[in-house]
Symmetry: C2
Subunit: 277 residues, 2 copies
């Protein structure tokens, strides 16, 4: 007998609704990871888990068993060749307004999503990108975490839609380059590939991986807004879409350089080797 | 026949669970108001609604009909003498990650809560308050709004619990006084009552009301952290708990002055006139 497809697990139960008093809803009191699965495997799993563990420590939310979450992911995938799973870890229900309950009973939500369309085309042809008017906060406490307070990204995405762009580049409140809405940034400047070093940027696991590949030769640096004009080429990177070139920034055409193609090949070779399809 | 008590309405239906793909949960993509109702009436309703309307304009979330929400509040109260209703307005479900769906179908959640215990005692005897280590962001875009991104307040509340305090005072990232965790601040300095003017503070409706009472003589001013040491007395104010004095700040005893008692009397007279209980 065929079973109905399950797209969401809440604390291990097939369910797609959760209590309205969940603190993730009330306060964004949550962390999340959006993870690419290829043929049942998440190549960047350990980096996602490390970031989640770090965030859970900062927020004081107990981490579920890693093997439990892995098995729940397998249950959701059910033979998908490519899929995305969002894992949300909230502080659960309870407490008195902002004050959490003394005993935290976290809630974990796993949501399966179809592979986003159009990524291959974007890999080849690149993205139309604009400079966002939204400045990102660089919270001393929350900086780098993939937490549930994402209104700035949502507002930047609204603006991006209105301007007909695929992505937008955001500065931090110091006026330095931070990241794109849902990706980190890479700039080729004077022959060197640099990623902005900003507390306002999410510590992306895709970028984290690339920084660890010695042959990529990428390093982090504090970058000014004006470095966008100096850049010979610009790329964006995230753990689901990989590395995508920017073909246009605020109407200025940018070259899709050989470096981008080399990075893409490295990504495919190490994280997404071709299969039989 | 007696009907089961309803504590939560979602889009007008008696329900306390909502879809796990609600953007309020996923990104804190929401606004809220926490409203005190006394004998079926919310004395600060129009100020709550004005703030919500402003926030909805900034975030681009359509506002529900005011009269509809009022009637839903009455349905939840069902004869309560004192109760609190939290109204949460989320961007609803849909969209592609941070990118909202082109057509926003917002979701409204009304949650009834019992009147918080201990407020009368705090009015009389005051609060133990500490300086928080958390610095509040002053987002140019989100400043003042009562939005769903409240992790900083949650972390400050955790710290406050750990230190055995009732409330905590937070600075903004410029090092200026911002607010308390769930209240605005009032400082009596050189005989004048001042409220911190900081983009990082929520535009509290209780404070908003007090600023509009000419006989209170309160004005907003940019205040430094060191002004806490100069203050002859300190109070906190929010729309549910009203005006509460600080009796101790980081171990230093503070006087509960006559000004606090006059403000409390003004609040009671205008917003909370005695009833028969």
């Amino acid at each position: 007998m065929s079973r109905a497809r399950i797209d969401c697990l809440i604390d291990g139960r097939a369910d797609d609704r959760l209590p309205a008093d969940d603190r993730g809803l009330l306060y964004g009191d949550a962390l999340f990871e959006t993870m690419a699965f290829l043929n049942g495997r998440c190549p960047l799993w350990s980096r996602h888990w490390t970031r989640l563990r770090h965030g859970a420590g900062v927020l004081g939310i107990p981490l579920p068993e890693e093997t439990l979450v892995e098995s729940e992911c397998r249950r959701l995938l059910a033979g998908d060749e490519r899929a995305v799973i969002r894992l949300t870890l909230t502080r659960g229900s309870g407490g008195r307004a902002y004050w959490p309950a003394p005993e935290c009973r976290p809630r974990r939500i796993l949501q399966r999503r179809d592979w986003p369309p159009g990524i291959e085309q974007q890999h080849r042809s690149g993205l139309r990108v604009v400079r966002s008017s939204i400045r990102l906060e660089g919270s001393p406490t929350l900086g780098g975490l993939k937490h549930g307070n994402r209104l700035e990204q949502v507002l930047a995405a609204r603006e991006c839609l209105e301007r007909g762009a695929d992505e937008a580049i955001l500065l931090d409140t110091d006026g330095c380059l931070a990241e794109a809405i849902a990706s980190n940034l890479l700039l080729l400047i004077d022959g060197e590939c640099l990623a902005p070093d900003s507390r306002a940027a999410v510590a992306g696991v895709g970028l984290d991986w690339l920084l660890d590949q010695p042959e990529a030769g990428v390093r982090k640096a504090r970058l000014e807004a004006s470095d966008l004009d100096r850049a010979e080429s610009i790329m964006v990177i995230n753990s689901v879409a990989g590395i995508r070139p920017v073909r246009e920034l605020d109407g200025r055409a940018l070259e899709i350089g050989g470096l981008c193609r080399r990075f893409q090949a490295l990504w495919t070779q190490r994280l997404d080797p071709p299969c039989d399809d």
